[in-house]
């Protein structure tokens, strides 16, 4: 817990993955934030993700 408390005593710089709303809110509060547009492969559908993984370029090498 001490680690977490220390973290928030420092300047917070954020890399936000996925939901942009979090980044926008931090931006509004003046917190430095970089947003990375990311979503789970195949929209989170495990079956399609498995199909994609089987057809990936890396799998062939």
């Amino acid at each position: 817990m001490a680690g977490i408390r220390d973290l928030f005593r420092q300047e917070v710089r954020v890399i936000n993955l996925g939901l942009e709303a979090f980044a926008l809110e931090l931006e509004r509060l003046g917190v430095p934030v970089i947003h990375v547009a990311w979503s789970p492969p195949a929209g989170g559908d495990p079956r399609k993700a498995a199909l994609l993984a089987a057809l990936g370029d890396e799998e062939e090498e």
Binding site: P41, A42, L52, L55, G56, D57
Partner: protein
């Protein structure tokens, strides 16, 4: 072959295509379109599933050919199978919006000199009340007859005299002049007119001088004159990619107002379809989304070869017109398309992106991984037959086409 190697081969074949505009001839002569046949845009479509705009255009084409005196008789012929109706794509052709081609209509002939195949497309009729947007009155038929009687032969003679016009060079130049070759073709049309001017004048020498003047006026009066030719260039460039085994690259995208269809290089002639979406965009005064026909036309072949919506960053004027907003948004649109493509076009470069090539070679795997679907610039037709164009905007390819293609690809691989 590995998927990676197959995709590299397919991409190479697409970007190194050498489309040349060679001729303009009746479809019967150019592409062997015989009998009572009407071609339409998009994947195959049964009559009962066709939207009223496509149906009206088909019936108008039957009247134009003189196979029936009125729509009721034309409909009877279609329903009894005495007029065959099928997709342009199956005969080496493409057509914008309704995409109608009949045997007597003059078509441009584009030859891909890198591969020896040809692509065909009708002459763009101009704006407003035209067959491709589902208008079907006597003025539409009269214009089609003039294209057959006068414009086609004059253009054909000029093109034959030219020895062929290098479309890849012309399109690369037009891209640098602010065209994305789907919604904006002002620069490309001017460049083509410049290349044709002398040949047109000579082709008309000794004939009716007014005929050449009428054709020249027709070209000059239509900012979208080049669109159809860009489409035939796309068709001639993408077709040789079909059949490259193991490639997951998209080789065709087309819509018929009911279905959106894609074909994939490694899956041959098979179509993967899903219901078309409604285009989003701007409407002419007096029209709104409630008047719009669902997405339609073979013109998405332009995006398939890395132009149109994929080259939005090259065409700020279009970005605003089709509702994409400002220049930054146009750049974001092109960058987004880069996420689903195999590479950048070595010949189609965008000055505003520090000379990077346009994104090209849509990979079905990348579409499904990211959930990003191809962005297509498009005209918007009225859903009520006879109205014509009512606006312009953008449409997305439905994700379900790509899901089905992935399933089929996995089935054949596994």
């Amino acid at each position: 072959m590995s998927i990676k190697a197959a995709n590299q081969a397919a991409l190479q074949r697409l970007v190194e295509a050498q489309p040349f505009l060679m001729d303009c001839l009746p479809a019967e002569q150019a592409m062997g379109l015989t009998g009572r046949t009407v071609l339409h845009a998009g994947p195959p479509l049964s009559w009962d599933r066709a939207c009223p705009t496509i149906q009206a255009a088909v019936l108008c084409a039957v009247r134009y050919e003189g196979w029936a005196p009125d729509d009721a008789t034309a409909l009877d012929l279609v329903l009894r199978g005495q007029v065959r109706v099928g997709p342009c794509h199956h005969l080496g052709a493409v057509g914008p919006m309704t995409g109608i081609i009949t045997p007597s209509m003059p078509v441009f002939v584009v030859e891909n000199r890198a591969h020896g195949n040809r692509g065909y497309v009708t002459i763009n009729e101009g704006l407003g009340r035209v067959l491709r947007f589902g208008a079907n009155d006597e003025s539409v038929v009269e214009r089609l007859r003039w294209l057959h009687r006068e414009a086609g032969p004059v253009l054909g003679a000029a093109l034959r005299a030219s020895g062929g016009i290098d479309l890849r060079v012309l399109m690369a130049q037009a891209l640098r002049m602010g065209d994305e070759m789907h919604q904006r073709n002002v620069a490309a049309s001017c460049l083509l007119a410049r290349a044709l001017m002398g040949h047109l004048a000579r082709a008309g020498a000794g004939a009716d001088a007014q005929a050449v003047a009428r054709v020249a006026d027709f070209i000059a009066g239509n900012d979208q004159f080049f669109l159809n030719i860009a489409m035939a260039a796309g068709k001639a460039s993408t077709d040789p990619c079909l059949g490259i085994s193991d490639s997951t690259m998209v080789a065709t995208m087309a819509r018929n107002g009911t279905d959106f269809g894609i074909r994939v290089a490694g899956l041959g002639d098979r179509w993967f379809t899903a219901p078309v979406e409604m285009p989003q965009g701007l409407y002419f005064p007096g029209f709104g989304p409630e008047d719009a026909n669902p997405d339609m036309g073979d013109s998405a072949i332009v995006e398939t070869m890395g132009l149109g919506g994929f080259a939005m960053a090259a065409s700020p004027a279009v970005a605003r017109f089709v509702g994409a907003g400002d220049m930054q948004e146009a750049i974001r649109a092109t960058e987004e398309m880069a996420e689903i493509c195999l590479g950048e076009h070595p010949h189609f470069r965008i000055p505003a992106l520090d000379e990077r090539g346009t994104p090209v070679g849509i990979d079905i795997r990348k579409v499904l991984e990211t959930g990003i679907t191809p962005l297509i610039n498009t005209g918007i037709a009225g859903k009520k037959p006879g109205i014509g164009q009512i606006g312009a905007g953008v449409a997305r390819a439905p994700l379900h086409c790509f899901e089905q293609a992935l399933e089929a690809f996995s089935a054949r691989s596994g």
